[in-house]
Amino acid sequence: MDESSATGIVFSIQKFSTEDGPGIRTTVFLKGCPLHCPWCHNPESLSPRPELVWHALRCLGDGACLKACPEKALTRAGSVLQIDRKRCIACGICVEECPAAALEILGKKMTVTEVMAEVRKDSRYYEKSGGGVTFSGGEPTLQSEFLRELLEACRAAGLHTALDTCGQCRPETLAALLPGVNLVLFDLKTLDRDALKRFTGGQLDLILDNLRLADSRGIPIWVRVPVIPGYTDSPANIEAIARLVGSDLRHVERLDLLAFSNLCLAKYEQLGMEFALKGSPLFSPEEMLALREAAERAGAKNAVVSGPMRSNGPA
């Protein structure tokens, strides 16, 4: 079998990625996610299929797209372009015709070879900074075959790999991927079984099994907690996670506390989705630092705060 002919749906390849593991990295975002976290900052990654988005600010209103669509999926109500998502097959014809780059298909079918060609362009930066490639999503393990081949290709190219996962996958799937992974970025939201289920659809026991599985393989792990107002930001939750990573697990090198971000609001609006946290304020640096102290008191060795925070002075 020609490995490189495997394809997957990639929604973005981000160069000079500095927030997803050590060094300068390229993050490959794979589309599709089994969870539905209300705070998700990549809502375009949820659906496993390519999707059309419309950027209102760029639109000239000339209507070239309306004429071009073979599926009659587009209509205009006033100055708003409406996409009938039941009809749209994401064929991209309207994107091609739009003069203003106001339409875009999120999610592109790519081969392993194509992804690797992009990823390799920055090899020099990985080498000089101790960086590499991060696979994120969505939930990358959903496209497990594609991901396995990508990891394999990175290993063949001598590139450091990080896998960013929420742990919501079959343990066999994860086990098959881990040999190609140099670092696991494990997203852990809450240890409250019911809340997790209710808000995100995730199964805590499965997720923790997978975390222990990764730990048992001796692969370095960075546990990452999205700190979300009203969902995961209680000191009790952070402490519980810190206790878990500080005592039960041996290979967790770092606990990242990622402050809630509202920068994704526009993306929700483009996709015609509701953002549940619309209007929630950012954390202040003091609040985040207090959580870090709580985590450290509870036994986390290397707790790191990052993400957008409220500035203290007037804006």
Partner: protein, 798 residues
Amino acid sequence: MAALAEPAVSLWSPSDKLSPRIRKLRDEYFSYSSRDYFRNEVMPFTTGQPWDVVYSEHTWGVAPEVYPFMDAFKTSLLVDARTVPLQPEFWREPAIIRRALFFREVAEKHLPVQVLEGELIAGGQFNTASSRTLTKSEARKFKKMEKRYVRTLKELDSYGYGNAGATPGHLIPDYPTVLKIGFRGLREKFEALLAQAASPSHRDFLRALIICAEVPRTLAGRYARKLRELSARESDPGRRQELLRMAEICARVPEEPARNYWEALQSLWFTHILVMAAESYPGPGLSYGRFDQYLGPFYEQDLKSGALDRETAKEILESFFIKNNYVYDFQGRVGNNQGINSSFGQLITLSGMGPGGEDLTNDFTYLCLDVIEEINLLEPKPNVRLHKNTPDRLLRRVVEIVSRAQGAPFLINFDEISIRALEWIGLPKDKLWDYAPVGCLENTLQGNDRSGTVDVNINLAKAVELVLFNGRDQATGKQVGPRTGDPRQFRTFGEFFQAYEKQTLHVMEKLIGLYNLSDEIRARFEPVPYLSALVRGCETSGKDVTQGGPEFNFITMEAAALATTVDSLLAVKKLVFEEKKIGMDELIRAIAANYEGYDLLRQKLTNKAPKYGNDDPSSDELARRVSRFWSEAVTRYTSPFTGRRYRAGYLSWNYWIAYAPKTAATPDGRQRGTFLSNGVCPVNGADRHGPTAVINSVGNLNLSTIPNGSSHTISLSPSLARGREHQEKLMGLLRANVEHGSSALQINILDPETLKKAQKNPDEYKNLLVRVTGYNAYFVTLGKEIQDEIIARESHRT
């Protein structure tokens, strides 16, 4: 109100670590308007002959913003000029001797001598507009040629081709030799040569060098006397001691070799200001070379012997730094140059490799970095050389300062990339480890090289306009270029590109013709024997620094608008020829209309064509073709009068702004007036994949045909430089650029919010420095247009 502005202002104020003395000296420099007791303004000096010349236009030919004022400067300087009494024999001397004698008279009798309270380095007023000491018939010839030059200059500038002019400054004099043997040693060398010189003109030339090499002793002696006078009147015993010590130093250097650190810096300063006085040019690009290399040993020796402690060494260095900023007083009188208050670029080079590729960073390098960070001034401008073996400690310190400074406190130069291109142009391989940049980033050798690094400036995008309109300039309607055919008849992109090459050659040849004229004028009428004494090669060749005397002589053509040109060609290639989505006729009509009424077409050109700067192989391939074409072609030209050969660079200075209104709309969707691209940077907003992709694209240009160096600026939001972890990543980015990228890089760390606040409250942000293109500028002094441009640039990159 104050609280609102505080974060940025505190970043830009000098550090609290400055001693009260240094803080006072720094404030004094900034208080130009109230500093009526001392201003380093231009002092014109004439022979008193009615035909005398104290100002020549070609000196400012590369500064289009000065053109409207040239006549006024010329007249008013001559009217105000002080007459220097001369002996009747003066007029019987050959031109070179006359220039030397006149310089000696001015420096010995007319340059005012003044010492500021508390300063540790003496040497105050040096801005002159000095007579060219021409006879009546020489003056007639000079004026005729200069008139022809000015007419052609204004014509080519008005077409938006660019500009050219024989420009002073922009070189590195042989300062280390002065520190080592003093001017006395230099005179001895010249006298030995004089004893052997056969030709009368060589003998005259050496006599002129000897006359000039006596001047520093006399001027320094006047300062020594002044310092002794002051010490006698000084009530503070500490300061009295200092003044006496300074008097001793000035009595010794630069005539004698420097024996210690303080003498070395004082010697350097006298030698340096006399170059500005001799050239009648207030400093742009007059650079120090590898400052830490020749001063480091003095510093280490004094520290070891206990003669000096680090804090004193720092204060002396800070006093020296402050003095360098007085070059700007020149603008007080002849008017600030319009729109851009750029730094003059008396460049100091730090660190870099040795002959075997080993790193040469020393303790003094780190002292300089501390001073740069704490004192926060425009001059001297620092450039740090990085290479494969740069130690982490230095790189970390550089990144730390860059990330704290909100702006770009220095230029970063990359040794391997710079050296490869210097070798390509034919410079001796074994000497290249010791290269150093001048001005902003223009790579030269030290002490023996006059490469006219800013002297010819071309707007590459103009040729695209000329192709589209068969050689006709759109603004004037004139047939200015050759007829390369009606592009509607072109069947392939290849034909289009060929026409582009022809028009480019036409623009280049026009500019070269203009420069050759100015080069000849300068060589015939404006020798500078004092500077020739400080540039190796002149003394043996018997030719002045203006006449091709130095060991190495190039003329550099600097290009602006590379990316605008490339993106325009890419759009034509893809949308007109390959996909046939746009007709050539439609494109030409749209451009003639400056896209008014053609918005859809303009959007297509903007959004549907590939762009340089995204690490996309086929776009970068075309960029490389464009870059190589002109940079190789230019090396086939020489200036007939001096024999200097042309070479290429990407500095762009402010021409990407200046020539924007003189360049018609371009096929990349740009309208007339929108800025052109700068250096090797992509068009603003065209790069969509972040700094690694841009650096890769720049590297893909293959800059080995660009010996003068290439300017690249990247802007990062402060969040990308905050904290140790991110600083390590920036270090990785720089290490990667060592292997593949531009020869020079500036990193701007600034957020748009800070800039917007500065625009609204300029008074509170007087100190906010930004990097514009190879130079620093105070943000609040920039025109609103440029400010908006910078804000827009930052906004889409955060």
